[in-house]
């Protein structure tokens, strides 16, 4: 892999430069076109409205189902965003361009993954206030935000690898969730349980094991996905 990197400069600084260059390209493109975040935000708000239609408005009941509803909405939005990001990249032929550049495939992965992470996070930052308002739940909870950031990062680690595969398959819209959900299941369980604890007013110590599980998932799959990314994107 090392021969794919810019010759003569495998220092830490140039790694960051490469990752940030890939990330910057995605952010710049999105800031001009808004083809990913805008439709996903609208979709997510609709999901919240649908949830408030179908759920019993009894406050006690809401407290028990809201964490589940929140994470269903987040995972669906995340999947749609990933699908769209890679489908757009394929349409525009962006991936070929990136593959021609002398950037290591692991660095390319981190650039794409951070981009996916930020897009998902932006959508969630817009969704959460709407969700909290509709279901009358607390919004300013540092613990909840920690869970959201870590779980979203976990989604991005495996999601980026699977989206890069799924985009080249037939039935890509269905294949991404089918690949993603079983692997991300522990993060979804942990995030929902930690959110439940936050809404119940528990202290951080009560749900720190869930946070630890998500963090472990993040580290493991960031490394594994980065190491195997060359086998996904190389022709």
């Amino acid at each position: 892999m090392s021969e794919q990197r810019a010759p003569g400069a495998p220092t830490g600084a140039s790694w960051w430069a490469a990752i940030l260059a890939v990330l910057w390209k995605d952010l710049l493109l999105e800031s001009r076109t808004r083809e990913i975040v805008t439709p996903i935000v609208v979709f997510s708000l609709l999901v919240i409205v649908i949830f408030s239609f179908v759920l019993d408005p009894n406050p006690r009941l809401i407290e028990s189902v809201a964490p589940g509803a929140l994470w269903v909405a987040f995972t669906f939005a995340g999947i749609l965003g990933l699908n769209r990001a890679f489908a757009l990249e394929k349409e525009r032929g962006g991936m070929e361009g990136l593959l021609l550049s002398p950037v290591g495939r692991d660095l390319l992965y981190f650039g794409k993954m951070l981009g996916a992470f930020l897009f998902m996070l932006v959508v969630e930052i817009i969704m959460l206030p709407a969700f909290s308002a509709v279901f009358n739940l607390p919004l300013v909870e540092p613990g909840l935000w920690l869970v959201i950031v870590l779980a979203t990062f976990g989604f991005a680690t495996v999601g980026t690898a699977f989206a890069a595969m799924a985009v080249n398959t037939r039935a890509r819209e269905i294949l991404l969730p089918v690949l993603f959900f079983p692997v991300a299941a522990p993060v979804i369980i942990a995030a929902a349980e930690a959110t439940r604890a936050v809404y119940a007013g528990d202290s951080f110590a009560d749900y720190s094991n869930w946070v630890g599980l998500i963090a472990a998932f993040d580290v493991i799959f960031a490394v594994v996905a980065a190491a195997t990314f060359e086998f996904i994107v190389n022709e």
Partner: protein
């Protein structure tokens, strides 16, 4: 050819022995009654299914490392047979849970993990079916084979903690493994050997079939007709 035939013979002999022991040698469990005998298929199916997925992971790493097509064929065969074993494990588990616990399904950590494993490797087979054929599908599948296997202990941890928070309402005697009597242990051991031999035989046959499939695909590609 001889390896395949001898594996078939071995697994048939072991299976018949195991069946005879299950029904005529092992004593009936005092607490769980006759339904406990499902244990001798259910648990070996689970163990061998897990072994199959370990084979997928090892061969996936081997394939990405060496690029040998044979490794990929073995991984493919192991995934398919692993899904077959896991499906049967889930079915026999439900058929045991109903008489033993009074419910068809319980979210015990083992059951939850097995169910997610089933979905994972069903997705693996789907990925192979829908990916661009040939080497691309093999590479994608190998990456999933590695990611999926690393995921197993994390899924198990999550399932265990989750279960602590949401205990199941289980009726009837809980199958917190009452210690097995020696005849039961022996029967169980023979069953495990029998299912492992069957797995080995199915593996050789399925790998051979996979090799043929690829050969035909290539020949068809060269000679458009037929």
């Amino acid at each position: 050819m001889t390896l395949r035939m001898s594996l078939l013979g071995l697994s048939a002999a072991l299976m018949l022995t195991a069946l005879a022991m299950v029904f005529f040698y092992a004593p009936t469990d005092i607490v769980l009654g006759v339904s406990q005998r499902i244990f001798y298929v259910h648990v070996p199916l689970a163990l061998v299914g897990f072994l199959a997925f370990a084979v997928v992971a090892v061969c996936s790493i081997g394939y990405l490392w060496k690029g040998s097509e044979r490794m990929d064929n073995v991984a493919y065969a192991a995934a398919e047979i692993g899904v077959l074993f896991t499906s049967l494990m889930l079915i026999t588990g439900m058929l045991w849970a109903k008489p033993a616990w009074g419910v068809w399904w319980s979210w015990s950590p083992q059951l939850t993990t097995s169910l997610i494993l089933w979905f994972l490797y069903a997705a693996y087979l789907m990925l192979r079916a829908y990916a661009p054929p040939g080497e691309t599908a093999a590479r994608y599948a190998a990456v999933l084979g590695i990611i999926g296997f690393i995921d197993v202990p994390i899924v198990y941890m999550a399932a265990r903690w989750w279960r602590d928070l949401h205990p199941n309402k289980v009726l009837g005697p809980l199958a917190e493994e009452s210690a097995l009597e020696p005849p039961m242990q022996l029967t169980f051991l023979v069953s495990i050997l029998a299912f492992t031999a069957l797995f080995a035989w199915l593996m050789t046959e399925r790998t051979e079939l996979r090799r043929q499939e690829i050969q035909v695909e290539r020949m068809r590609y060269i000679y458009g007709e037929a």
